[in-house]
Amino acid sequence: MPLSKEEWLSLEKKANELRNLTLDTVHWCGSGHLGGGLSVLDLLTVLYYKYLNIDVKNPKWPERDRFILSKGHAAIAYAPVLCDKGFEDKELLHNFNLTNSKFGMHLDSNKVSGCDASTGSLGHGLSIAVGTALAARVLKKDYKTYCCLGDGECDEGSNWEAAMCASNYNLTNLISFVDRNHCMIDGPTEDVMKLEPFEDKWKAFGFETLVIDGNNINELCNAIDTALANKSDKPYMIIMDTVKGCGIDFMEGDYKWHYGSLDDEGYAKAKKALEETYKKRLARVEKEAK
């Protein structure tokens, strides 16, 4: 079902709030993985406010959908989402990354309610997601498993072990994403370690694939709907073409914003940029919504 204008607007509003909360969190704690947090934030918004079948009051509900953020460093955006959903107290974001905080730079699933896996060491999440999806089969449960990888993370060989495994076991209950923001710590992905032809790789490993604009909420919803309606026996990989630092013009596309900090002036500038982004996003909805 196509996304209604009303729902699209509501998701844009939420994404805007979460972008601001992510930026505020970086400001409170002094620094953070803003670039990769902002590039994946539209996906987090869409999953947590439209698709995931979860119960905030019962975070360990066995029937719940699972989400595994393999690119664990995007916790700077993920923690605000979990707090906004009500899994944790928003006040705790003021201590993000600080000594004895509940939220580290990479979330600890045994400490943070609503977080399904402790990730951070890259190349682990897809294997965990495969195990989660296989467990649904053994336990005869209908939950879906969603997993999001970073593109730089795909250099890790273990992802390709997991990809073979997902395909071997025909895990149609697993929907995976790559946040293809084209940047890693040391530079553009194609300069550091070439990933292209990226979609072909996933196809060759036995996935149904889609390549979409991962910072377009409508496209994200269409892609997830397509994956949920999957009639093939292959798992889905949605490659999200995204922009690192999405929403803050002076960070966008700059790999140096993988991790950074903002002084008060920079923070004010970034807040202003987010306002402009939100205006543009609303204009897009007006133009493109059916």
Partner: protein, 339 residues
């Protein structure tokens, strides 16, 4: 105690076969038990489980790191995965996944590491696991067991189901000589308890602490030394490497003042390392010797030959005991001034 395997059966079964049968027994009782391997179903003897529960058996191919992550995901969803591969790959090959996915997340997954030490001797150092304990022993939340024979392996596997959390159980390839014969079981009142060493032989002159197949060798050495040298050698089966039985070690220091450790593992960081840590913190002087691989890769060969070359067979232990007995202590034998 639910001991389903007799010593007679254990002499005709490889240790891993007993593990395979124990796993089937667990599978029958507990529908959430699943088994995983990385192209080593035959070698690790979990074929029976595969035949009996094909929907609960997963061969992930030669991809150990993925297997550990998959197991972590399964465990978090409520299954109890038993992962089987060679010790070298269960530790070093998948170390980051064992550390982070299994132990940091503290999931209920059980690693059965086969072909440990030099028990796959002819395969060479790529397949010897003589450093695994040093690695896994350092990981928080992980219980580490090295059973002495097939009977003890059975108990360790069954116990691992009853106790939530990650386990690393290290067993040998092929046949292990049966230590726990019905006679010995009766004589010493054998009881497997996690974290509690078993006194296989009583003694007051010296204590030999051993793990895995070295316990049998230590027991043989003790019997021989009693006959030839009149020595009373205490033999402890330290099946649980972590948490280690500190009380048994402290008692050995007080009672015998001489301790030798024996393991099919490097002397660094395994049993010898663990016992050394306890002795060092005890504040009491003690003659101490670690038998094991002396910071060298092992030669290629039959397991029993390697054990002999390295000096962790009964002859090596006899020699080490005699050497250690020569070490002098203060004549007054009073410890109170040695703190």
């Amino acid at each position: 105690m639910g001991l389903s395997y007799t010593a007679v059966e254990s002499t005709s079964l490889q240790t891993a076969e007993i593990y395979g049968q124990a796993l089937v027994e667990l599978g029958e009782k507990h529908p959430e038990v699943v088994a995983l391997t990385a192209d080593l179903a035959k070698s690790t003897k979990i074929g029976d489980f595969m035949k009996k529960f094909p929907d609960r058996f997963f061969n992930v191919g030669i991809a150990e790191a993925n297997m550990f992550g998959v197991a972590a995901g399964m465990a978090r969803a409520g299954l109890v995965p038993y992962l089987s591969t060679f010790s070298q790959f269960a530790s070093f090959r998948s170390a980051d996944q064992l550390h982070t996915d299994i132990c940091y997340q503290n999931v209920n997954a059980k690693v059965i590491a086969t072909h440990s030490g030099t028990s796959f001797g002819q395969a060479g150092s790529t397949h010897h696991a003589i450093c695994d304990l040093a690695l896994v022993r350092s990981i928080p939340n992980l219980t580490v067991i090295c059973p002495a024979d097939g009977i003890e392996t059975y108990h360790a596997v069954m116990t691992s189901y009853d106790v939530p959390g990650p386990f690393y159980i290290r067993i040998n390839r092929g046949f292990d000589q049966t230590l726990y014969t019905p006679e010995l079981i009766k004589k010493i009142g054998y009881k497997f308890e996690l974290g509690k060493a078993i006194e296989v032989n009583p003694g007051s002159d010296i204590t030999v602490i051993a793990i895995g197949s070295c316990v049998y060798q230590a027991y043989e050495a003790a019997k021989y030394l009693e006959k030839t040298d009149g020595l009373k050698v205490r033999v402890l089966d330290m099946h649980t490497i972590k948490p280690i039985d500190k009380d048994a070690i402290l008692k050995a220091i007080t009672d015998t003042r001489r301790i030798i450790t024996v393991e099919d593992h490097t002397i660094i960081g395994g049993l010898g390392g663990a016992v050394a840590e306890v002795i060092a913190e005890a504040g009491k002087g003690c003659a101490f010797k670690r038998l094991g691989h002396q910071d060298h890769f092992a030669p290629i060969g039959l397991h029993e030959d390697i054990m002999s070359i390295v000096g962790i067979d009964s002859n090596g232990i006899v020699n080490a005991v005699r050497e250690t007995m020569k070490m002098d202590f203060e004549e007054d034998d009073d410890w109170s001034d040695e703190f």
